[in-house]
Symmetry: C2
Subunit: 368 residues, 2 copies
């Protein structure tokens, strides 16, 4: 049985919380000290709708770390092993961020607003503290703060149609991980083609909480015949899509290479980011374990609130950190960290679920 | 109606979660990415029991930032405006931590384990990121990490009796905010006289998750005739006691002086902590608003999930951030930030609650 969530100012409400409540949210998590919906009707019903229509998601908890000033670009590059020298205004980049030993601190999306102004749209850790202290320690000419920006996602196969009705047809031309600015309610809002699903869609960076409810209402008004509904990142769909969750599938203990994010680490690492020395070592030796996808045999397993051990012939072979029954694939799909000896496609392993040990097979790629 | 909390690896379980579940927890919050119980029977029933017997609290979410190495003391002093030059091994100190502009980042308790080894027992923000980045930026000879330490609190008027039965009578001699080390289950555990209530008691720093359930079980076995129960920080009692909640009653926007923590800021500030320059300015001018306690007239008000405006004759006079009906004081008690013109004892203000505007009176001290 799920317990109730006690809400206080500390578990911050968002500009959309009243609308989300009216739409019948039934489950929440707390993400960056803020409410993030997890369920409306049921995870399965939300899933079917997400994959067939269009949803509006309150992802305000993707808080922004704004970095502004003459050394903004220099500081952003110091934060990540990904080479950002070619990044242009109007682009977004997924940037793993590591500490000095190469341990993952966050896996945010950087948004280049101007030559001297960035947002870093964060996963669930107080990256603001890391960036502020680095700026202080290295005496950089930047201002670092959390602006009043609350992303609202439009996700699903009908997302382009819905967004075009509200922002105009120009929105269809936005390329993946680019953003363009649109006027809504008298405000200039950045709209990016991005989101935490593989169903397509946008994230609107709602700058100024007062624009939240008007935008929400405009989307629902415009999308009535599209069966637009309130939704949220969906556990089943994000596992099908192989989208990792920082804090669940990876933690500070993991390197980007273990997370399958080695391709975002510039092999020359000439860029002098924090963690460079450790990551050069890691890149040379390769990881000893890595994120893999698994199909677990048998009846539906429960979700995975704490890691499940994976073994092969009684020996430790890794752990599962996310799992769900997929109606579309008619199988239990899972994400886990698997040791090198057993991580090849098709390898048979044993997963120790609360429903008992189950046979599972390794996949190198996700399902979507 | 409270929504359900969705639990994942990201909302970390604790060494005590199975025991807490068996004890009938009904409400949780998420604190430092970890489960923190908020309700067992009801907030009022839990409150009456806390004030009359003894409870065991899973406060594992008070995570530790361990700072170890030749420059550990130097770094801890850099973190806080409180003068720690007289702090001895075996002592705990409440240390406000601010950024370079004097904004509160956390209000943890520092625990001095050795001359070159400290724990910082944190409120709800990733202080680890701040400390690690400062250590990196200022190139300090320290190791900074989150150890496997999960505090378990013993709180209530019978706490001394219960703790003595498990740890021996020596535990009674521990002075407020001191700690001593006791052997339990073959491990050396630090036991401090501290806790987030005014009912008296201890916090046991359970180092090594495997000692969690044996300690929990030993406390319940030893305390059967004391009516020991599982409990948690109680909203009503902590407001009566005037205990602030970081993230609710104070945020990064506030200085220590606004939070009534000016007495922890060394007026000379010769110690060169982060934020020194800003706090010297603040100390000279005094805060424009400050934490106050209020009694709100009329029927019980609901709890305060987002700030309630406070006005005087239609003018903004501050905000309420925590509120609860107190059965013992037969009144609505509240904590808020009140502007200088209206913060004197006895001043009448108007609080805009969801149940309508209510008259309230300012208090300079809490109730317990």
């Amino acid at each position: 049985m799920s317990p109730l969530l006690s809400i206080s100012r500390r578990t911050r409400r968002t500009p959309f919380t009243d609308r989300v409540t009216a739409a019948g949210v039934t489950g929440y998590t707390v993400y960056n000290h803020m409410l993030l919906p997890t369920v409306f009707k049921s995870i399965t019903e939300d899933y079917r709708h997400l994959k067939s229509a269009v949803q509006v998601w309150d992802v305000s908890c993707e808080r922004q770390v704004e970095i502004r000033g003459p050394q903004a670009a220099e500081l952003v590059q110091m934060l990540t092993p990904r080479d950002l020298s070619e990044m242009r205004i109007g682009q977004c980049r997924y940037i793993p961020i590591v500490d000095e030993t190469g341990g993952m601190l966050n896996d945010p999306v950087a948004v280049k607003l101007d030559e001297d102004r960035y947002w870093v749209s964060i996963a669930d850790s107080d990256l603001l503290f890391w960036v502020k202290a680095l700026a202080l320690g290295f005496r950089m000419a930047v201002d670092v703060f959390e602006p009043d920006v609350s992303p609202l996602a439009i996700q699903g196969p009908l997302a382009d149609e819905l967004a075009a009705r509200v922002f105009g047809d120009e929105v269809r031309k936005i390329r993946f991980f680019d953003f363009r600015t649109f006027t809504f309610n008298g405000a200039e809002l950045a709209v990016a083609r991005s989101g935490y699903s593989k169903q397509g869609g946008f994230e609107v960076y709602v700058e100024g909480g007062r624009h939240g409810e008007p935008l929400w209402d405009a989307l629902f008004e415009a999308g009535r015949d599209l069966d637009v509904r309130a939704g949220c990142p969906n556990l089943i769909e994000r596992i099908e899509a192989g989208l990792l969750s920082y804090g669940s599938d990876m933690t500070r203990a993991n390197t980007p290479h273990e997370c399958g994010l080695g391709r975002f680490c510039d092999t020359r690492l000439a860029i002098g980011c924090v963690g460079r020395d450790a990551l050069l070592r890691v890149a040379r030796e390769g990881p000893l374990k890595q994120i893999r996808y698994l199909e677990i045999e048998g009846d539906p397993v429960p979700s995975c609130p704490e890691p499940w051990a994976v073994t092969v012939e009684g020996e430790p072979a890794g752990q599962i950190t996310s799992a769900a029954w997929s109606p579309d694939f008619e199988a239990n799909l899972a994400i886990g960290m698997i040791v090198r000896d057993w991580w090849d496609q098709g390898t048979k392993v044993l997963v120790h679920t609360p429903a008992g040990p189950r046979t599972a097979r390794i996949r190198e790629k996700p399902w979507l």
